[in-house]
Symmetry: C2
Subunit: 366 residues, 2 copies
């Protein structure tokens, strides 16, 4: 995948840098882990420090000093998560800031404008994120609204692009991805995919999954959607998921992922390993001199024992977050690297089988 800030090998995993930083690890760590693209959250950056301030700094890349590609979400997902602090109308989503209660209106047009100010390489169109479970009637209504919003968001994006020269936005090469919705209804997913492609975006994402539905339902929805998206363009499954989810989604044609699991779980002491998940806070690791994952080559596993990692976590040291995050991101990025390699050599099915066997062979920490 080629972006205004360089090439990304796919399938790719995007570490989440919510507020312009991946919690606990510096950019040089991310680069040495092989991260080629970051995700940042429009909602958070819009509120603090503000998209206009970032535009005055020359855009998000210059502000956070990250020269590789960045994808920004539309802000929609965060706003919809605000529950009773937001109200959805046809115009958009009115919400109260989680920081100071101030009132804001996020519309398809506004989401495009904010992301133009941020200057990300990939902007996401503003969509409605329906909660799971949803009945077929509200799922259809939401899908229809998402399509109307997609058209409005795309129009505004194109206006901005047409006037890029005068308006001096930070990244005139920004692309915009459309988002397929439709809850867990195959016919709605199919219709949403076809009509989103009809509007026309640089590429397409699958939204509204990994929101609490069973894994096999998610895999099924992905498998039914990807064939309707242009084969030559990257397909992005938003917000997924576990390492197993990633492997299964790749098997169904997905090229891009983002997820807070590796970073958030690291801060909670949960480590992803080749033998499944471990909870480093467990007392059984207090005198365990082995690495978190014997098969892992990350900085954490090459240097530190489970005993030390448990001590850092138990004593609330910042370095627990850093070392655990380094490991979990390495595990995710390395899994994607191995997936790419297996695809190159036509051995993906073999990789997929071995991966699932290895992760389920050992008892998992609760």
């Amino acid at each position: 995948m080629t972006t205004a800030h360089g090439i990304v090998e796919t399938p790719a995993f995007m570490p989440v840098g919510t507020q312009g930083a991946v919690k606990g690890v510096t950019h040089r760590d991310l680069e040495s882990l092989g991260a080629e693209i970051l995700l940042s959250n429009t909602y958070h950056l819009y509120l603090r420090p503000g998209d206009e301030l970032i535009a005055r700094r020359g855009g998000l890349h210059r502000f956070i000093c990250w020269s590789k590609p960045i994808l920004t979400d539309s802000g929609g997902y965060q706003v919809f998560s605000l529950a009773e602090r937001r109200k959805i109308t046809e115009e958009g989503a009115r919400f109260q800031s989680h920081l100071d209660g101030s009132s804001h209106l996020l519309t398809p047009e506004k989401a495009a404008e904010i992301q133009a100010n941020l200057g990300s390489d990939i902007a996401m169109v503003f969509d409605e994120c329906l909660a799971h479970p949803a009945d077929a009637v509200s799922a259809r209504a939401s899908m229809e609204r998402t399509l109307r919003w997609a058209k409005r968001g795309r129009d505004r994006f194109q206006q901005i692009r047409d006037r890029a020269a005068e308006s001096r936005i930070p990244n005139p090469g920004q692309a915009q991805f459309g988002i397929v919705q439709g809850s867990v209804f195959p016919d709605l997913r199919a219709e949403s995919a076809d009509r989103t492609v009809e509007i026309g975006f640089e590429a397409y994402a699958i939204g509204g999954l990994s929101v609490g539905e069973p894994s096999d339902v998610m895999y099924d929805m992905v498998g039914q959607t990807t064939p309707r998206l242009p084969a030559a363009l990257p397909r992005y499954l938003m917000g997924a998921g576990t390492p197993q989810d990633l492997v299964e989604a790749v098997a169904r044609g997905v090229d891009m992922f983002d997820c807070v699991l590796p970073t958030r779980n690291a801060r909670n002491g949960q480590l992803f390993t080749s033998q499944g998940r471990i909870n480093i806070k467990n007392a059984k690791y207090a005198e365990d001199d082995g690495p978190a994952d014997p098969a892992c080559q990350c900085y954490t596993c090459r240097h530190y024992s489970r005993a030390y990692l448990r001590h850092l976590f138990a004593t609330g040291e910042i370095n627990a977050a850093t070392l655990n995050t380094l490991h979990n991101l390495h595990f995710y990025l390395d899994t994607l690297r191995r997936i790419r390699e297996s695809l190159t050599f036509g051995r993906f099915e073999n990789f997929r089988q071995l991966f699932h066997e290895s992760s389920s062979r050992h008892p998992q920490d609760s």
Copy 2:
């Protein structure tokens, strides 16, 4: 200075890794900053994870994966800071853990035993840390007790060393430093120095300063004490101080320092720079695209703007602690490097003058 884990160039600054980790920065960061020796806190490690657990791991170096020298304090300072949760008798200090309220007794002998289990390269003898201000009578009583404790601590240390082969302690090459007390009374300081040297340690530290007395009083006490300590052995000023304090103490013959200022203040948003201190949280930095310190070559200053650092601090990102700590430790370690260079080339007085002029030229952030 030569230790069981290698050579340390002096004068040296020791970053503080209270619980076996310098908060916010990994060991590889510390090594790339040029840190040659770490300080760890006996009190904290004794309580969590326990010195015996660390001994079973092969000692502190192996447990935390740091192959260079480590100095451990005696635990006394932390215990004395517990205020009403501790009681001092001739035997030692009985205290309640700040973690679970459990009762413990720290004696000169016990402090030597714990540090033998930790296997640090330099163990500190257990002393009484008198609060400032103190009257001459209690200062003398405390100094006398510290001398009695010093003898007991030294005896226990030597017993352990004599039996090192059988007891399999992690670091048979451990050294023990004596500590000069005497509050702000020159005659007590002189007597304490002479009688501590009489007991005989591998080297000597100046304790009980940097506890709230005015800078010139501290400089005066240091200046009166160092000439009474053996010139061939390192002299360690405990717990000091500001960059200015370090320069002034070196001028008076001090070789070793430790202080939480660079790391703790970093986490509070205060940065030490060649132009004095700045508080990165100040609103005036919100759109400041310059580095924290234009004269600085650290990772933080080479990559990130004050505007970004302020954003990270304002949003409570972990990376604020990491990037600020990297900068402050670089400033301290680089100051010591420049001091050593100026001493080598006989230009220390010139350096000292320019250093003070540069730090006081600009208005400081409140």
